[in-house]
Symmetry: C2
Subunit: 373 residues, 2 copies
């Protein structure tokens, strides 16, 4: 049924009943359904972020399902809270639907939202539900708590620069999506991926192992022809783009002097730390971690994987600086590895490649209202 | 200059510099410019609300200036905080611009935002700035503080029902805007109305007095012909729609058993109080306050002013219930008057007109995804 036949009041009621507070939710005084929500935080500081996703700019409904959208709008906001060293707690979502949207689409978004809520332990407390003329819009606010917060401004010359997992996968996943034929796009769109918390983490961060249905290949357009890549190679890259995971920062935060999540690109976001901290940075390009999938697909597309890793956006990895982060013991205990990729300098901003050649570290990455890339 | 020539980074820098925190802003630990803002609230409870405004649904750029938009997105969110009995403190704004937007439009929005910030005493702490495919989108989150909050759920049979100022003006203002010719629309759009806090309050709530330039008439389309209404009559109605003011609830809140702001319409919002409180209500239609402007313009348009007052949206007046609100002494001391319009009953929901005839009180008002009105 189209939403225009359903009506806002019934939709609001559905959301309210679905996300009713459990009686043991002690920090919430007033939940969904009033003019505003009321929270009694446990900590003295609250951390607040908000981010928007717009059809045609941030996502293409040709290959993105409502489930992906719901999951992603929560993830990208939770990621900002974690990048401050906070614990995400409360979620508010504004949704604007076009007249093309139906009940299934509406519920699909909230299925994705709920999945992400379970994964990150956040509670939906409110939002706005309205109509849109042309494009579907999602906007979320996440409120977190924390004692010590880590800004972008604390890096000191001599600090090392660390990165979780690897960057570039999301941009490469987007490149795959753009080159799919319609059958491939539809297939991606129909795939909901997971249910359940443990499975979510496992599935998302699993190595490139073959699972049922993974034998098939995806056909990609390239130079007026077609190439194929294995589904098992494409899958994690697609996941990284369609349903990014916010990285848990609680082990890094106590050591970090500066920290952010890589949303616009590794280089541009490292420059942000330098700008805020009043420092420079040396980055060793051969130390920038590249996933196996990224290397393989970049090869098939005749692209340098470092381009994706340096300036591709939406990876939501944690980039942080620290004087003494115990990386080795951390990596022995955790699946998501941390790499040291450079160090903070007084002023100089350079990338050094494996032959030792220097080039300028420039703020390259995604910019809204910037020149087309 | 078009925003696409300006680039996101320069725009973000401009916003950040413009809304830099003053050093005496003690409650804010981290302001604009990091992954998230960090707040150390003075009170144990925080109140959070979020609301969205979409081009083509909530506003028409044919007669709405960017200044109006910036002012209104703050007002409608502040109103929700005040309707809980809270004090608004912090503001977050997500803005999505189309490629048609230029620097002037961009700054116009922030001019309106700043005006509203001054008026309500809120501080901008963050947000998101991005591009949109077809429509301009504004979404804001406002965080307030308060000790005692007033929900919609506390009304008790025997409580009286109170309303600030009057409803219907905003819907009537919208009706005027829709009937303007292009010259009239352009004139409204170019009018920025006010600068400065004291002037804002005075101008907004002033009676229908003639001010410079008010002698002219506005031409409205009606029944394939044209009628004219005086600018001094139209002005307050237009203001109520384009730049609504959130009502200060601090004097009502200590007495109120239930409270909300009338955003979708008086009847639908009173029904919300009844639904949440598990009560009914009697409304005396002749006690529903009607502004002089509403009565005059409704007359000219052959419409019943009570229709606007009962089911017109976006007035943002405070509707509250109380057992013993000292209305007379309140009204002697304040410019924005409060009227008693009915009482809470156990179950029955009726409207009684001046002849004593009863009709059912129905949830009539604006519904997104509802049938066209």
């Amino acid at each position: 049924m189209r939403l225009f036949q359903t009506g806002e009041l019934r939709l609001l009621k559905e959301v309210r009943e679905r996300f009713r507070l459990s009686p043991d939710e002690k920090g919430v005084v007033v939940g969904i359904g009033d003019d505003a929500a009321v929270i009694a935080p446990h900590h003295k500081k609250i951390i607040v972020t908000t981010d928007m996703m717009n059809e045609g700019v941030h996502f293409d409904l040709g290959y993105t399902s409502p489930f992906h959208l719901g999951f992603k709008i929560v993830s990208v906001n939770v990621s900002d809270i974690m990048a401050m060293g906070g614990v995400p707690k409360y979620l508010f979502i504004d949704l604007a639907f076009t007249c093309a949207a139906d009940d299934e689409f509406f519920r699909g978004i909230y299925d994705g939202v709920e999945q992400a809520m379970d994964l990150y332990g956040v509670q939906l407390l409110g939002g706005d539900l309205c109509s849109a003329s042309n494009d579907i819009i999602l906007s979320a606010t996440v409120i977190g708590e924390g004692e010590r917060v880590v800004t972008r401004a604390g890096a000191t010359p001599g600090d090392r620069i660390y990165l979780t997992a690897s960057t570039g996968d999301s941009a490469c996943g987007l490149e795959i999506l753009r080159r799919l034929n319609n059958e491939g796009k539809q297939r991606i769109k129909n795939f909901r991926y997971w249910r359940g918390n443990a499975e979510a983490r496992e599935c998302h961060d699993a190595p490139l192992q073959k699972t049922e249905g993974d034998a098939e290949e995806l056909a990609l357009e390239k130079d007026n022809g077609t190439i194929t890549i294995k589904w098992e190679i494409a899958r994690p890259l697609l996941l990284r783009h369609l349903m990014p995971m916010a990285r848990d920062s609680r082990y890094m935060a106590p050591y970090a002097s500066a920290m952010l999540d890589v949303s616009d690109g590794l280089f541009i976001d490292l420059c942000r730390i330098c700008d805020e901290s009043g420092t420079g940075a040396i980055l060793y390009s051969e130390k920038i971690p590249l996933s196996e999938g990224l290397k393989k697909v970049s090869g098939s597309l005749d692209r340098d994987p470092l381009d994706f890793a340096a300036s591709g956006g939406e990876d939501y990895e944690i980039l942080f600086t620290a004087a003494d982060f115990p990386m080795e013991s951390y990596n022995q205990a955790h699946d998501i590895k941390v790499s040291c990729i450079g160090e903070i300098t007084r002023q100089e901003r350079v990338v050094i490649n494996k032959e030792g050649r220097k080039s300028a570290l420039k703020a390259e990455g995604y910019q809204h209202f910037g020149p087309p890339r």
